[in-house]
Each structure stands twice: as C-alpha cells, then as structure tokens.
C-alpha cells in the first residue's frame, strides 16, 4: 500500500469497525491489526482516538451525502420525485448486509454530552442532511419546505431506527409510503407562477397538519 493511501485506509477500517462493534468497543489494537499497520503509524496520522473518530465521521459525512446526492439526481429530474428518491437511497443503505444502524446516531449515543466533539460532529451531519431535504423540498415548490424537510427527516430517522432492530428494508419502504401519503396533502406552488394568483389562501388547507 502506498503511503499516501494509509490515512484513508485507516479511516475506512475505523469506520467499518465502528459500524460493526461501536466506538468504545473498538480498540486501537484491533484497529491496527485489521488495517495492517503499526501503532506508531496510526498515532502519526491521528493524535488521539477521538481525533480518529472525528476524522472518520467527517469522511463518512461527506461520502454519504455525496452518494445520496448522486443517487437522487441520477434517478430523476423531478424535484418531488427526488424527495421521494431519498427513501430509495436509504433503503439501499439499510439493505446492506453490513448495516448496523446509522453510525452518526451510534456516535451520539456513545457520546451523549452536547458539548462532546463527537456528539457535535454527529449533530452537524444530521443538520446537513436536513438542509438537503429542505433544498429538495424547496425545489419541489412546497409551500413550507422547512416543515416538509422536517417530516421527511423524521420518517428517515424512524425507518433507520426500526431497521436497526429488524435488519430488514421494510421499515424504509413503509416510511416512503407514509411520506407519499403526507406529501400528497401538502400545498405546492405550481411550476408556472404566472398562471397562479397570490398563493395566500392555499395555506388554509395545509394548516390542518401543522398546528405550530
């Protein structure tokens, strides 16, 4: 292995073991054995184990969000369909045999204090994913893209949590059906704004679901 690849290889190995066994349960000795490097090498790339965790989460954060973007954008050009396609991406992730739950939720679950850097990294990932949902909801011309994004996000998290226990893709498919049902009741401004008048009274039908 080329030396320039070692850091990435360490992060990949770390992510695999964190996913399999968790963060506390994954020791440095196991990690270097699996990666096939010396302990000296590991600590030359990362000062502490926490630094390794943070770097691994950062890597996975960028990877997974980029993968989701590519998956969604290659599937369809329709913004509404793209919002639904995020569930298909999630289902593919969950159906992976190596799936053991969201590693960011696990990271937050093992580092529960809000000021913990690991917790903050996990929290940041969730915010960025939510921002992408909002971006899609906005492109799909939903009247309240933020609320739509929150709903999609909640369905994603619920499906992921349940799939972590059942180890099947069914909860994700169910969450997509729920999303379809919910989004069908939501107000969208038409793609030709000139054809419509002021979109003010459209809000009335949407306010059923959302009190706040």
């Amino acid at each position: 292995m080329r030396r320039s690849e070692i850091r990435g290889h360490l992060l990949d190995t770390a992510l695999r073991l964190f996913n399999l066994h968790g963060y506390h349960a994954t020791g440095i000795d196991l990690l270097i054995a699996e990666a096939g490097v010396a302990k000296t090498t590991l600590y030359r790339h990362f000062e502490t184990k926490e630094d390794l965790i943070l770097a691994a989460l950062e890597r996975r954060d960028e990877e997974s969000r980029a993968e989701m973007r590519i998956f969604v954008e290659q599937r369809t050009n329709d913004p509404y369909e793209r919002l639904l396609a995020t569930f298909d991406f999630l289902e593919a992730s969950v159906r992976d045999k190596q799936f053991r739950g969201c590693i960011f939720m696990s990271a937050a679950g093992e580092h529960k204090e809000a000021v913990d850097p690991v917790f903050r990294a996990a929290s940041m990932h969730k915010r960025l994913v939510l921002a992408y949902f909002e971006e899609l909801a906005h492109a799909a011309r939903f009247a309240e893209p933020k609320r739509i994004a929150d709903a999609v996000n909640l369905l994603h998290e619920g499906a992921t949590a349940i799939a972590q226990m059942t180890r099947t893709g069914e909860p994700v498919r169910q969450s997509k059906r729920m999303a379809v049902s919910l989004l069908a009741q939501e107000v969208r401004s038409s793609s030709e704004p000139s054809a419509r008048t002021e979109s003010g009274e459209q809000r009335a039908t949407a306010s059923n679901a959302g009190g706040a």
Copy 2:
C-alpha cells in the same frame, strides 16, 4: 438503606448512569460509588456486568410500558385518542432534562450483534411497545391495526431519534401532527354506527395535536 432495597437501588443507579454515559463508558467502580455500595455487594446481586445490564433493561422495560399504559388510559377512554396520547407520553419523557435518547436504542447501538443478549433485550422491548400500539389500534377499530401500529411506531422512533440530537420536545409534537394527518386517511369500522354522530366531536379534540 434496607437490604431488600439494594437490588432495586443498584438497578436505578445503573439505569441513570447508562442513560447519562452509555453502557461501555459506565464502569463498575463509578456505579458502586454512585450507589454507595461495596463491589462485593454488587457482584452478590449480579453475576456479571452483562447480567446487570439485562436486569436494568428488564426493569426499565416493565416500568416504562406500565407508565405509558397508565398515562394513556387515565387521559381518555376513546381508543383513537389513546393512540394519539402515546405521543404526549413520549413528549413528557423527551422533555425530561435527563433525556439522552432511548436507552434501548442505545443498548442496541452498543451491542450490535443480533445474538447479543443485550440486543435481544432491547429488541424485545421494542416488540412489546409495538404490540401495545397494535392493541390500541385494534381497539380504535382501524381496518389494519398492524399497519397503523407500525406507522405510529415509526413516528415514535423518528421523533425520539431527532429529539436525542436537538434535545427539544418539538420533534415529538411534529410526529403527533403527522400521526393525526396519517390516521385521518385510514379506514375504521364504526363501533356503534348510530351513536357515532353524538360522540363525533371526540375527533375534534384530537386536533389538540401540537397544543402543548
């Protein structure tokens, strides 16, 4: 402290620390210091740390499901309202200052192998909660109580996961509004078709969804 109370006190202390710091991060030494007992005493009540974890989860499982039952059944007699009241119970749990996420999800997140006794205990709790949802959905005369229970369960899990990051009750209120919206589209067989018109406004009070 009376000797008959020691075991329960140990379990309560363990649950508090597991909730605060997680399972691996909670050491035996810290536990006995917090509980104010000797290490000998702990190991006289529980053979291993895993046994302690399993006993603690079992205790919390029974406690929390009993609490939910009491909360829900004292709030209303209408089965449909009871299904929605589970979200109010969840919101109360989440708004607790000590809330750090579902301890059963955390347990499964730190013991990821499906054959791990801790994972199985967490999984069992989730199945029992789901069974209660189905019981409520059946009483509410939904045509497909199993699917309704799955939907409610998914909303619960999603709200809990997001609340674990945001540390607010808002995701739970949102999930309740989503439940209201979804359940309104579901088919229910009427219990007394003639008397139904009189008790019709029970449905109206359901729109308190995001009230608190």
